[in-house]
Amino acid sequence: MGLENLFLGFQQALTYQNLFYATVGIMLGTIIGVLPGLGGANGVAILLPLTLRMPPTSAIILLTSIYWGALFGGAITSVLFNIPGEPWSVATTFDGYPLARQGKSGQALTGAFTSSFVGALFATVLITLFAPLLADVALRFGPPEIFAIQFLTFSAFVGLGGGNPLKTVVSIMIGFILATVGLDIVTGQLRMTFGITGLMQGFDFIIAVIGLFGIGEIMLSVEEGLTFKGVQSKMNLRVVLDTWQILPRYWRTFVRSCLIGFWMGFKPGGATPASFMSYSFAKRFSKNPQQFGKGELEGVVAPETAAHAAGVAAILPMITLGIPGSPTAAVMLGGLIIWGLQPGPLLFTEKPDFVWGLIASMYTGNVLGVLIVLAFVPFFAAILRIPFAMLTPLIVVLCAIGSYAVHNSMLDIWYMLIFGAVGYVFKKLDYPLAPLVLALVLGDMAENALRQSLIMSQGSLTIFVDRPIAGVITAVALLFFLMPIIGPWWRRLRGLPIAAPTPREI
C-alpha cells in the first residue's frame, strides 16, 4: 500500500515546477546555512510569506528544500572556516577544519555531504515506512492522548535537552503564556491584553522565530567581532571519486550514526545531541581514537550522518502527530496552517497527494542537494567573504520584511526587535529558545486538548493515567521530567563520574 502512494508522491515531486522549487530552495537554504545569524528556522520563517500564493505541495517542497540546504550549508562553514553555521555542525568542526588545514578540504567536504546524504536517505526511508503506521495509530487519539503527547514533547526538552532543566521549564511556560495572549476562542474573552489594542492580535510565533533566532543571533555574532579566516576549498571530480572509494570503509559508523540520528531526531531537540553522541561513539569504537580531533575523516562522517538523519526525522512527528520535532519543523507546521491544511494524522487520508508529495520530495530534494552542494562549494564559500558590515544590515532588513509580511503589520517589526533583544539575553543566560517557540506554536492545541480532556473526566487529572495509551505516554513523560534528578543520583549510586554538562540544542 505504501509503494503506490509513494509513486503518486513522485508524480508530484518530479514535475518541472516542483523540481525548480526544490533547486531554488536548496540554493537559498545552503546560503542561509552558510550565513551566520540566518539558520534554518528563521530562514524558513522569513520566506514563509512568499509561499502564500503557491499550491501547498510546491510551497512545502520549497520550504523543506530550504531546510535540507541549511543542513548542508552548516557543513561548509564548519570545514572551511571552523565556524559552525548551525549548532549541529559544531562536532563537524572537530575533524573537518584540521582536514582542511592539511589541504584535504575537498575530502572533508565530500565526506560531509555524502554522510549527510546517507543519513537523510536513511531517515527518509524510515519515514516512508513508519509515517503511515504512526498516522494510523494517531487517528485513534483523543484529547487526553494528544495532551499526553504534548506533555512528552516538552518533557523531552527538560530531560534530554541539556543545560539547566529549570530554565527549560521557564522557557516552555513563557511560550505557553505568550500563546494565551489575545482572544480565547473557546469563551470569546480577551486574555492578558489589559485593554492594549496591540496585544489583541496575540503573538505570532513566526515573528518570535525571526526575532529570537534571527536578530538575537546577529547580536550574538557581532559581539564576538566577525572575522572569517577561511581555507580555500579544493574541489574537483577526482577528489570526490577518491573520497567515495574510502567512505565504504566506515560503513559501521554510517549505520550507527544513522540509528542514533533517527532515534534522537524524532524526539524534539535531537539534531545537536545526536551529532555529539555519534561523534563520541565513533571515537570510542575507532581503531585509532587518538587521530580524532586531528583530521580523521570518520570524525566528519559520524556527526554529519547523525545530524541529517535527526534533521529529517524531525519531520515525522510533524506530519503524523501535528507536533514538530524542531523549531524549523514548527515553522513548517505553521505554514501548513496558513495554507489551510490541518496538520496531523488526517493529512494522510484527506490530503494524500500533499503528504506523499512531501515524502517523495525528501528523496528528490536530498539527491539534488548533494549534487548542488558538491558542484557549487566555491560559490557558497565565497559568500562568507562578503564583508560583515554589508551582511549584517542585509539580514536585519530581510528579517524586518519577513516579519511585516506575515500580517502586514508594522507592530510586528517592533515585536521582532523586542524578541531579538530577549533572544540575545536568553541565549547568554542559557534559557533555551527552541522549547519557547514550540510552546508558542502548540499553545492553543495543548490548551484545547487539556480543556476537552478535563471536560471528559469532569475535572479529574486521572484521565491522563487511566487510559492505556495516554497512561504510557504520561509515564514516559514523567520519567523524562525526573531525568535531571534521577540521572546524577543513579550515577553516584553506581560510582560513575558526573556527566559533563551537555550543550544546548539551539
Partner: protein, 153 residues
C-alpha cells in the same frame, strides 16, 4: 552573569504575577462548560513563578561569576539594534525600502568604513532587489512612502 540572572528571574516573576492577576479576573475554576479562561494561564504562571524562585536561589549558590557583557562587546551589539530600531521608526514615515537603504548605507559607512561608492551602490541594490522580489515577483506588499508613490507604486 549573576546580576543578569537575578534581574531576568525577577522580571519573569513580575510578569508571571501580572498573568496571575489577569487569570484570577477571568476565573481559574470550573465554568458552566469546563475550565474557565483563566485556568490554563493561572497554572502556567504559577509554575513559572515557582521555577524562577528556585533559579533565583540556585543563582545565589552557584551563579556564574563571568561578566554578562563587556563594554567592548556591548558597543557592536548596540550599533546593530539601535539603528535597526531607528529603521523601524523611519519605516512609518518613508516606507520600508527607503528606510532599509538608509539603514544599510549608514551601517556600512559607520561600522564597516566602506567607500561612499560601495555604500550607495549596495544600499540601493538591496532596496531595489528586495522591491523587485517581494513587491513585483511574489506580490507581498511592504509599507511604502512618498518615494514609492512618486515612482507610481
Amino acid at each position: 552573569m549573576r546580576a543578569a540572572d537575578y534581574i531576568t528571574a525577577f522580571v519573569l516573576m513580575a510578569l508571571g504575577g501580572i498573568v496571575l492577576v489577569d487569570a484570577m479576573r477571568l476565573g481559574i475554576g470550573w465554568g458552566t462548560d469546563g475550565p474557565r479562561s483563566g485556568f490554563f494561564p493561572f497554572w502556567l504562571a504559577l509554575i513559572m513563578i515557582v521555577t524562577c524562585a528556585v533559579i533565583f536561589v540556585q543563582t545565589f549558590w552557584r551563579g556564574s561569576r563571568e561578566v554578562f557583557v563587556t563594554r567592548e562587546q556591548l558597543g557592536p551589539v548596540l550599533k546593530v539594534i539601535l539603528p535597526a530600531a531607528a529603521m523601524a521608526l523611519l519605516t512609518h514615515f518613508v516606507g520600508l525600502y527607503v528606510a532599509a537603504a538608509l539603514y544599510t548605507g549608514s551601517y556600512m559607512r559607520w561600522v564597516g568604513r566602506h567607500s561612499w561608492v560601495s555604500v550607495v551602490a549596495v544600499a540601493l541594490a538591496i532596496s531595489v532587489i528586495s522591491f523587485l522580489i517581494f513587491e513585483l515577483w511574489f506580490l507581498v506588499p511592504m509599507p511604502k512612502g512618498p518615494v514609492e508613490s512618486w515612482l507610481g507604486y
